[in-house]
Structures are given as structure tokens and as C-alpha cells.
């Protein structure tokens, strides 16, 4: 029964996130005063990529993509949608973070297996970027776990519900909330932290050798990983959702907000991004952590 | 006037030291001097020590009727903003010259360029035989005036055949 549930959840994640991506392409176009593509353009792109032929560059290249997609999908089934959960009691933030790394490493392995120098540069930038945003984010999460004595996503969400909007962690811990949004921007790989994709400089980085079906799988992977990352933030900082609909609305608004921010920024170089993360967000994370541990401000 | 005076003084100075065949002022802040082949290296070395540190370009002009190829070294002084065009003439049938890489190292690529397009050979520049622009070139140097580009183009790159003729033999549209 759980597995049918998990399968449905994956389907939901794909259709929900892909639709929102399509709508966001339209939002971005309006931001730039264009007409923009139709809202289902993202589906057409994915299915088109799947319908084309593709070249293999050895078994590491093929296997890495499948491993990445599998890892990400395995992570996605752990994410609760509002009160609905496929596997209760395993929506632990540590499990999710570790499983997410399987996907990222599969991607890195596959891209390096293609033998293209741009791919290696892109992968090294992506992993550097991950190291940059993960440290402040984890400092914050650990202090949250210390404060609330729980580490599950639904646990965090349940603690915030019932007190209205002002009960959300984003408003109870404003420093941490802002920092989490900055880290989310890095996780999503959106501007200004998208130096590992950078089509004009390193020819789209890790994706440089992918075409056809392989590229289609990467698009799927990107949709699922976006779903996971945004969901984590919605659960921890915006109170999850008492009903699936509430969760979906919060999710859509948050993702659109991040996209609009991305729409008006230029791109950081990778060293600038790392420097930025280790200065502002890390300082914010420590301040927020010290406040939580020593004063308990906002916890009760 | 000041500019002209300073250009004149540069010319006087050069003329007192070297044998300058003719001088010309193509533009403000530009002076062109013609020299004999053997003087080029000494003049360039002298001018470089005098502040003309940049070789802007080395190019070549084909004088078909006179039967000469003219090399033009355009050098530039960043302090005064003055260009000097140092020119010399080579025999068109056997263009052979010595490299100026010891004076301006960047000349290597200009010399390869001139060798490729005009067929001038530069002694001392080992890589001047390598192609810089024209990969796998299989005819005489294309920038010489007696090179028939139309014939070469028709031979190598098939022209499109039209069923009706748009341009009449006498010229002008039908």
C-alpha cells in the first residue's frame, strides 16, 4: 500500500513541479516584458527530449544518470505533502539530506564520465557551491533540532501550526528565515548562484554532453530535486500545510518568489558565491544559533 | 601646429641618423617613412628604445606594376600617441626578408600572416611556414593582385546553377 502511495506521490511531484516551472517561465517572461511560452511548455520540452536519440559516452555516463535520477526519486517519496506521507516517521531531515547527496554524486559521476572538460569544471563548481550553502544551512538546522527536540519535517510543521501566520518559524526566527531563503536560492541553483550552469561561459557545465533521452532524464531529475528542496523550506519555515492544498499554495508562492529574485540578479563567480556564503549567511546562522541556545528567543 | 612641429622634429632626428628615402604625413599624429631593406632593423630597434614599444601591425602591399611587395611596420608610442609607418620594398618574385622577432616578439604572428597571404618568407621565424588562417591552403598566396579569386572560387566551391539567367552578358539586369 505504501508503495502505491509513494508512486502516486512521485507522479504528483512531477506534474505539480513541472506545471509550476512552466508557469514560472511565463512569470519570468512577463518580468522581462515578453509574451513568454505557453504554460505547458516545460512538458513539451521534457517529452521532446525523451523522443530524441542520444549518444552514450561509456557505462559510467549512462549509469550515473540513472543512479542520480533513482536517488532523487527515492528522496522525493520521503517528502510529506501536508499531512499525507508515504512512509511515516522517516521524513527525517538527515535521511533526506544524505539521500539527496546520492543524486548529486550520481550526477557528478556521470558528468565526469563524459570526459568533457566543461563538465568537470561544472561539476567542481556545483560541489563547491553545495559546500558553500550547506554549512550555514546545517548550522541553522542543528540549532533548530536542539530547540525543538525533533528532526522530522512533519514534526517541524506540526509545531508551527495552530498559531496562525505569526507562528511560522520564518517570523519567529527572522534571521534564520532570511538565511534559509538565501540557502534555498543556492540549492535551486538559481541566479545569482548559478555559476555551475553558466551556458555562455562553460557551455551549461555538467549538462554539456547530454542530449536526447539523457537530457530528458536530467530535466526530470531537476524537477524532483527542486520539489525536494522547496518542500524542505516550506515545512521547516512556513508551517508545512494542514491540508495538501495549503501546502501547494505555499509551495507555489515561495517558488515563484525565488524565481522573481533570480530574474533580477546577475551571476556571481564561484569564488564570490563561496565568499558570500561564508560571510553573511554563516554569520547569520551562528548569531541565530547562539540566540536560540542561550536565550531561547522565539522557541516557546 | 604643435603636433606638426613635434612630428617634424622626429623626422629631423631620424634623418640625421639614417638614410630616409622619403617621408609622408598620412594623418594627424602619423608619419610614414620609406627605408632601404638593410636599414629596417636598426631603425626599428632605435625607435623601440625611443618609446615606440608597440608593433600595432605588420602588413604588406602588393604593387603589381612596379613588381614590388611593400612591407609596412606600424609602430606606436603610448606616451605621445604617435604612429610611425616604417616601409620598405622587396622584390616581388623572390620576397625574402629577415624577421624582426628579436625586436618585437609579437611580430611572429604578423609574419606568419604576411607569409600566408603574400608569400613573403621571413628568415629566423621558424614557425612562419605554419598556417595561421588558411587551413590546408592549396594555391598561391591569395592576397597577391594576380591571384584570380573568381576562378579559384568557381573551381573549388561549386556555384549554384539557375534555370533562368538573371544577369545579361552586357551587364545590368534583364
Amino acid at each position: 500500500m505504501n508503495f502505491i502511495y509513494a508512486f502516486l506521490l512521485l507522479l504528483f511531484a512531477f506534474f505539480f513541479q513541472t506545471s509550476i516551472t512552466g508557469i514560472n517561465r511565463k512569470v519570468m517572461a512577463r518580468l522581462q516584458r515578453r509574451r513568454g511560452p505557453r504554460w505547458f511548455q516545460q512538458y513539451i520540452d521534457i517529452f521532446k527530449a525523451m523522443s530524441k536519440g542520444s549518444t552514450s559516452h561509456g557505462w559510467i555516463f549512462d549509469f550515473g544518470v540513472i543512479m542520480a535520477l533513482g536517488g532523487i526519486m527515492a528522496t522525493a517519496i520521503l517528502i510529506p505533502i501536508g499531512p499525507l506521507k508515504a512512509f511515516p516517521d522517516v521524513d527525517n531531515i538527515f535521511i533526506i539530506t544524505y539521500l539527496l547527496a546520492v543524486g548529486m554524486l550520481g550526477m557528478a559521476m556521470s558528468a565526469s564520465g563524459s570526459g568533457n572538460p566543461w563538465a568537470s569544471i561544472g561539476v567542481s563548481r556545483a560541489l563547491t557551491n553545495m559546500l558553500a550553502y550547506d554549512v550555514p544551512f546545517m548550522v541553522l538546522i542543528v540549532s533548530f533540532i536542539f530547540a525543538f527536540k525533533t528532526s522530522s519535517l512533519s514534526g517541524f510543521a506540526a509545531l508551527q501550526q495552530g498559531a496562525g501566520v505569526m507562528g511560522w518559524n520564518f517570523f519567529r526566527f527572522p534571521l534564520g528565515g532570511i538565511l534559509a531563503l538565501i540557502c534555498l536560492q543556492g540549492m535551486l541553483g538559481k541566479k545569482p548562484f548559478d555559476s555551475f550552469i553558466a551556458p555562455a561561459e562553460i557551455a551549461s557545465g555538467p549538462m554539456v554532453e547530454y542530449g536526447g533521452r539523457h537530457l530528458g532524464m536530467l530535466f526530470l531529475l531537476h524537477e524532483f530535486s527542486t520539489f525536494i528542496e522547496v518542500s524542505i523550506i516550506v515545512h521547516i519555515f512556513f508551517g508545512g500545510g494542514a491540508s495538501p492544498l495549503e501546502f501547494m499554495i505555499k509551495y507555489a508562492l515561495l517558488y515563484t518568489f525565488m524565481n522573481i529574485i533570480a530574474g533580477v540578479f546577475p551571476r556571481f563567480k564561484i569564488d564570490q558565491a563561496v565568499k558570500f556564503y561564508y560571510k553573511v549567511p554563516l554569520a547569520l546562522a551562528f548569531i541565530q544559533g547562539l540566540i536560540i541556545i542561550f536565550t531561547g528567543l522565539g522557541v516557546s | 601646429m604643435l603636433k606638426m612641429n613635434s612630428m617634424n622634429s622626429i623626422y629631423e632626428n631620424l634623418n640625421s641618423k639614417f638614410n630616409i628615402l622619403s617621408v609622408d604625413y598620412p594623418d594627424d599624429m602619423q608619419m610614414a617613412i620609406d627605408l632601404e631593406e638593410k636599414d629596417i632593423h636598426t631603425v626599428l630597434a632605435y625607435l623601440k628604445s625611443d618609446g615606440y614599444t608597440q608593433l600595432s601591425i605588420l602588413t604588406c602591399v602588393d604593387w603589381l606594376k612596379e613588381g614590388v611587395l611593400q612591407l609596412v611596420y606600424v609602430i606606436f608610442n603610448w606616451d605621445s600617441g604617435i604612429h610611425i609607418l616604417v616601409r620598405t620594398k622587396l622584390d616581388r618574385d623572390k620576397p625574402l626578408f629577415r624577421t624582426v622577432m628579436e625586436i618585437y616578439p609579437g611580430a611572429e604572428f604578423y609574419e606568419r600572416d604576411v607569409h600566408e597571404f603574400f608569400g613573403v618568407e621571413f628568415e629566423g621565424n621558424e614557425r612562419s611556414y605554419k598556417h595561421l588562417f588558411l587551413e590546408l591552403w592549396d594555391a598561391e598566396p591569395p592576397m597577391r593582385k594576380d591571384f584570380d579569386t573568381q576562378a579559384y572560387s568557381d573551381k573549388k566551391y561549386a556555384p549554384r546553377e539557375y534555370k533562368s539567367k538573371f544577369i545579361s552578358e552586357k551587364g545590368g539586369e534583364k
Binding site: 509574451r35 521532446k48 554539456v208 547530454y210 | 590546408l136 572560387s153
Partner: protein, 190 residues
Amino acid sequence: MEIISNNLEKDKKDMRKVWEKIGDYFRANSIWMMWYCTGCGAIEMPPTMTSRFDMEQLGMGPMATPRQADVLLITGYLSAKTLRRVIYSYEQMQDPKYVIGFGSCTINGGIYYDSYATMKQLDHYLPVDLYIAGCMPRPEAVMNGFDTLISMIKKGEAKGWKHYQENYDWYHENQLHSLGEVYVKDEFHE
């Protein structure tokens, strides 16, 4: 040339299966073009891409590498040196792939018809699905051309890539005659 026109006759009949038609629908509505500016006509692409004409409303967009791209734009004036790279890039692209020739230079050499380095007809070397005439075509003409390409793909008429596979010998012979060798030889490939 005869081979191509014969093939065109043969392809007039619609012999596609149902899933091929569905695939063609997707391929027609999501065309990614390669970001390789081969000549001066590339300057017409920025206005076509950005807010004024907004290519994305047709589902088109630029892609960074030949592996990801569907359409190769030959934007004008194609020299012998560029053609080698273009053939390399074209052969790296994944199957259903399309070629658009921009401007008079790709059709008959344009104003450079007597140059020692300019290709005079692109369809001798690569299978061209569509020519957009002009020197250079304005963005309106370019958008119109893209629209034509989309309807061609929907009807299954854009079959250049199949002709290239079937008549590879003919194309390769032409390439060798004009280029000597399709192999890229320069300072960076030694």
C-alpha cells in the same frame, strides 16, 4: 542535386506512424537552437530572442552545445574554415535535427560570391531544411521562417537529417572537394 529532388518526391507521402506524429508534435513545439554564430547574420538573433520579438513564445530557445540542440542556424557568410567546424557540430547533434540557412550568402554566396574562402551553396555540404532569404533577414523574416519550420516539422517534411544519412557519400564527396579534408587542423588541435 537530382538525388535530393528524387527523395523529396518520395517523402511527399505521409508514411509516419502514430507515435512518430506525436513525437513530431513535441519536436515542432520545442525547438532548441545551437548557440554557434557562424556569420554576420548572428546579429539578427538577439532582437529575435529578446523582448521585442520573443522567440520563446514559439517554444524556441538557445542551447549551449550541439548535443542538446535541435536546429543549427547557419547565420550568413560561411567560410571554408567555419564549414569544417559546422560539419563537426552538425554531426554531433542528436537525430531529428534541422538546418536553417540564413541570408543570400548561404544560398549563392551573396556579395562574397568570388571570395577564395566562401561557400556558395550550403545545401551542397549539409542538408538544409529551410532558407531564409535576405541580406540579412530582418527579425520579422526570421520569425516567419521559424514558423514555417514548425509547420514543416509538424507535417513531417523536415527530413534533411535522413537525406544526410542516406546520401552521406554525395555530401562527403562535396565536402572533400571543397575543403580538401574535413579534419580540423589548427594550432589547438595538434
